[in-house]
Symmetry: C2
Subunit: 635 residues, 2 copies
Amino acid sequence: MPAKAEIPENTTAPAALDASLNAERMPVETRILKLDLPPEGFRLVSGRTLKSLDVAYETYGILNAAKSNAVMICSPLTTDAHAAGYNASYEKAKERIGWWDDMIGPGKAIDTNRYFVIASNMLGGCKGTTGPCSVNPETGKPYGSAFPKISVEDMVAVQRLLSLQLGIDVLEAVVGGSMGGMQALQWSTSFPDKVRKCICIAAAACLSAQALGFEIIGRKVIVNDSGFHGGDFYQHGTIPERGLAYARMIGHLTYLSALSMHEKFGRNRKEDWDEKRFETGFEVESYLNHQGDQFVKRFDANSYLHITWAMDHFDLVARYGSLDKAFAPSQAEFLLVALSSDWLFFPEQTRELGRVLLNQKKIVSVVELDSPYGHDAFLLEVANLSQVITGFLEKPAFDNGSGGGPGNGSAGDRQGGPRPAKGTDTSWKPRGKSFGASRDLEALASLIERGSHILDIGCGDGVLIDRMYKSHGVTGIGIDIALPHVVECLRKNVPVLQSDADRGLSLISDGAFDYAVLNRTLQEVKKPQLVLNEMLRVARKGIVAFPNFAFVGNRLSLLTTGVMPVSEALPYNWHDTPNIHLFSLDDFRLLCAREGIRIEKVLYLGESMISRLMLGLGRPNLGSEFVIASIARES
Amino acid sequence: MPAKAEIPENTTAPAALDASLNAERMPVETRILKLDLPPEGFRLVSGRTLKSLDVAYETYGILNAAKSNAVMICSPLTTDAHAAGYNASYEKAKERIGWWDDMIGPGKAIDTNRYFVIASNMLGGCKGTTGPCSVNPETGKPYGSAFPKISVEDMVAVQRLLSLQLGIDVLEAVVGGSMGGMQALQWSTSFPDKVRKCICIAAAACLSAQALGFEIIGRKVIVNDSGFHGGDFYQHGTIPERGLAYARMIGHLTYLSALSMHEKFGRNRKEDWDEKRFETGFEVESYLNHQGDQFVKRFDANSYLHITWAMDHFDLVARYGSLDKAFAPSQAEFLLVALSSDWLFFPEQTRELGRVLLNQKKIVSVVELDSPYGHDAFLLEVANLSQVITGFLEKPAFDNGSGGGPGNGSAGDRQGGPRPAKGTDTSWKPRGKSFGASRDLEALASLIERGSHILDIGCGDGVLIDRMYKSHGVTGIGIDIALPHVVECLRKNVPVLQSDADRGLSLISDGAFDYAVLNRTLQEVKKPQLVLNEMLRVARKGIVAFPNFAFVGNRLSLLTTGVMPVSEALPYNWHDTPNIHLFSLDDFRLLCAREGIRIEKVLYLGESMISRLMLGLGRPNLGSEFVIASIARES
C-alpha cells in the first residue's frame, strides 16, 4: 500500500520569523512520496506507463484549513526539490540553501507566512523523483535506455498527483522560471480550473529554433561519448563524463548574457594551462571546466537527455492545435515576466504569449524586467522580480465562479487592504499625472459607460481603472513602461502591460475594448497619429485627455514672455519635458478630421478667470487649459 | 630557388564587363606561391619557425603601373583563397563561385575594374597554404601535433610576404569581416605605413568572453574525440569526425541570429528521426547535421583548432599594452562596420574601437548596419554593406605624407568628382535641412575659425564639413543616424559616426574638437540639456543653429489661428515632426545661463518683413525666425 503524504507541520514558525532572516532559520527536509497509482501504473502522454512513481518534495509554510493557500513551485532544468530554506542533509554548505531561497521564505515574494509552498524534483530527474537512473521495478536494474520519453505535460501530471496526495485540489498559484515557466503554463492548460494564478518567468510556449539548436548539440555530444553505451552506462561502470560536461558548458553559456560574461571574466587568464590540448588559460575556460565537472558529479546524463528532450518538445501549439485552444479553458490569472537580456527565451516570445491571452480576454499582466544578466537573472537578480510577484500575489484571489473579465473580482475581497509597497522604489513619484487628477478623472469617467471594458494607455499607477472599477464597474487593462507604475497597478489588481504605447497596442486585437483612454499621454508618444489610429482599432471609442497648447494663457505667455509656457497643465521646462508633441485643441480637431476620426464630445477644462471667460464666450480653443475628447472612427 | 610570383594578367576584361554580370563571367584560378624565406625559415611570433611556406591565393583585376591599386581581402575563419569569380576547378557548382563574390567583382563594392584584389588562404589553413595537414619538410609526414601555434599577426605577416612577392609594397586597402576584420586591424598595426585604408567588418580588437566560451567548448569537443589521437590522426587513418562536426555546429549557431533561425526553421519537423539517440527531427537538427557533415568533408580538424586558437588569442591590448599603443603608428584611414544583430562580435565592441581611434585623431568612420541576420550578414546581406564600402573606397586616397587630421586630403585629389550614388536608397531626401541652407551655412561658417577641427552633430549628408573644408580649410567628423546620410558623408570624404547624438558623443574624448556644431539638431534630440553640455565637453566652442519658436510669426500664428505654427523654419505638422523640443531664443538663453554656458555671439536670421522690422527694433526673440549662436563654457 502506497505511503500517504505527510504534510510537515510547523516547518516555519511565522511569528518568530521576518523577512530579514536567512535560510538557515528555516530548516527544511526533502521527503519522498510514493504516488498512489492505478494498477496499470502512471500513463504517460506517449502511451507508455511507469509502474511506480516516487516524488521527492519539500514544503514550506502551513496549509490553511480551507487548503486554499498552496503555491506550487515548478523547477527549472537541473534543480531539485530543495527550493528554499536550510536543508542540513546536503554535504556542501552552499547546497544546503535552497536554489530559489531569495524568492521563497517568510516575508519574501513567495511568502511562507502566507502560503503553503510545494517544491518537487521533476519526473525524469535524478534527485529522488523517478527517472532513468531509478531502479526499474520490472528488472531490478536502473532504467537506463529503457526509460520512456517523457513530456512537460507528464511532469505536471505528476505534480498534480503530488498536490492531490497532499490534500490540495486547487492551487492558489503555480510559479516557475525557464523550464519551470513551461510547467506553469502547462498547469493552466492541463488543469484549467485548478490554478488560480499562473506566474511564468523567462519562458515561452515553446523553445526558439536557436535555443533548440544548442540543446540538440548538447545531446549529441553526450550520446556520442564513448562512456554512454546507448544509455546503459550504469551497468558498464562508466559515465559519459566529458559529453555531459560539454553539454552543460554549452547550456551554461546560453543562461548568461554577453555583458555578464564580460563583467565576470573579460579576458583574464590564469598562469598555466595545457596548450597541447588547445586549452587557453582564459578564466572563462576554467569557469566552464568547473561548471562541467561539478555538473557531472551531481547530475545523471540520462536525466539531462530526457529532461532537455521534454523541454525541446514542449510546444503548446503542436499539442493543442493553437495557443488559443490551449488556453481557452483556463480560469487562471496570468503574470508573464520576460527578462530584457534573456536570449534563451527572448522577450518577444513572452509578448506573443501575452497577445494570445489578451485576445482571449484572460486576466494577464506582461512585465519585461530590465536586466543585463541574461536568462539566469530570474535566479540571480530577484529584487525587481520580487516586487512584481509580490504585487501580483498580494492581490485578492481571482474569483473562479464569476467568469473571467479582466479586473474582475470584488474590492471587498482584498486581503488586508492597501499595504506599504515593500521594496518598491520610493523615489518614484507619479509625475505629470497630478494636475487636478481627481477632477479630471471625474470628468473623464463621465464619458465612459458603466460596466465597459477599457484600455488605459499610459496608465501610470492604475488609478483610473481602479477608481472606475469601484465607481462605474468598469474592467480594464493598463499599459505603462515604468516598473514602479507596473508594480502599483499589480498591487491595485489592475492588469498591466509593461510597454510603450506603440508596442503595447500591437499586442491587442481589433475591437478588444469598449474604450481606449489616452490620459495626458498623446503629447508624450513618439507617433501620435499612429497611436490615435491604433486606439480606434483596438477599441470602439477613444477618450483623449490633453493639455491645450493654444490655451490663451499659453499663447499670451509665449507672446509676452517669449519663452515656452510652463503652467499647471504643462509643468515642465522645454528641455526636459516628456511632452514631445505639443498641440492645441484645434490641432487635434484637424488631425482627427484628416484621419477620419469623429469627435463625439469634448469637455473643456480650465479653472482660471481667463479660462472661464473664454469658455463663457464660446472660445474653447482659447479657454481650455485641458481638454477631454471622446472620439470614434467615422462610420 | 623559390618560385617567383606570377601576376595573372587579364583575368578580367573590364571593358566587356559590368556590374550585372555574374561570377561565371569572371574566370579565376587559385595559385600556390612558395614564399621566399630566409634560410632559417619563417619566424612566428611565438619564436618557433616554419622551414617553408606555401600560400594559396587568387587575384582579380589588374595591378596598375604605379602598383597603387591593390586591395587585400582578409578571410574569415574557414574560407579559402577563392573569394570571388568563377573557379572551374571546384567539384561542386556552388563552390565554384567565390565566397564573397557578392562584394568583389567588376562594378561591385570592391570593384575589380578599379582595384587589383588579392585573396589568400590563411596560414594554418588546409586549402593550399601551409597548415597542420601540410607535409612537414623535416619529417616528410603531415605536421599534425608538431605544427606550432600561430597567431593572427603571423597570418598577416604571411599576407605581407605574399603582397611583396607580388611586387606590391603599399596596399590601397585591407578589407575583412569577422576574423578577417581582425587581420585587417592587425595589418594597420603590424604595417602602419603600408595600408591606406582599413575596412574592418563585424570584428573587434579581441573576442568577447561569451564568444571565447563557445570557441573553447568547440575545441574541447574535437580534442576529446576518440579519432583525434593528440592531433596525429593522419597516421591513424582517422579523423575526429563527430568532434569536428559538433564544433562546427556550435560555431554555426553563433553566426546566426535568433530571428534568422526562427525564420529559417521555426519548429518545423521532418518525419523520421532516431529517437533512441535523442534526435528530434526538427529541421534545425537536420540543418546542423548537414552543416557538420559538410564541414568534416572540407575542413581539417587541426586547422580548425589552430585558427580558432589564433582568433581567441588575438588581443591588441594584450599584445601592445593598449589599443592606443597598437594604433598610434598607423597611417590608415579606418572604416569600422558593425552589424546590429551580431552577437558574436557585438556593436559595442566596434564602437569601443572607434572611440580609441577617434581619440587618436585618426580618420575613422563607424557604421552600424541594421540587419536581422546576425554575424553572417556580412556574407549574406551585402546591399547596405556595399553602399558603405563603395562610398568609403570611392574617396580620394588618403595622403600619407600630410599627417593624419580627419578630413585631410586635397579636394583636387578626388577621383572623378561626384558620381551618382550607385545603389543608394534614392527615396531619401534631406528633409528639414533645406530651409535657406546655403545662406545659413554661410552665416554659420562665419562663426568658425579657419582651419578648425569640427564635430557636426546631426550632420545630414555632410555638406557643412565638405563646404567648410573647401572654403575654410576645416577638418571634421559628422554624426548622423540615417544610413543614406552616412553613405553621402563617406562619398564626400567626410568621416562619419552612425549614431544618435547622445550615444555618438559618448565616443568622443574631452576637448577633441575646436567646434561642435548642432545645425537644426537641438530641437530633435531627446535630451537637449545633456547634448549641450556634452558638446562643450568634446569641443572648445559650440555652434547651435535652431528655429526660434518665439519668432513673432510663430507667436501670432498660434495666437490667431490656435494651431501649431508651420513655417519655412518649422516645416512639419505637430504630429509627425522630428522637432520634439520646441524652444525660443530666450528659452535657449535661460538654459545656457543655468548650465553655466556663455553665449558669445548670436546671429539673428529672418527674411520676412515682420522679421526685419522686429530685428530693426532690436527685438531679436520676436524677429528671429532662425538663430545661430556661438557658445562656450563659462570660464
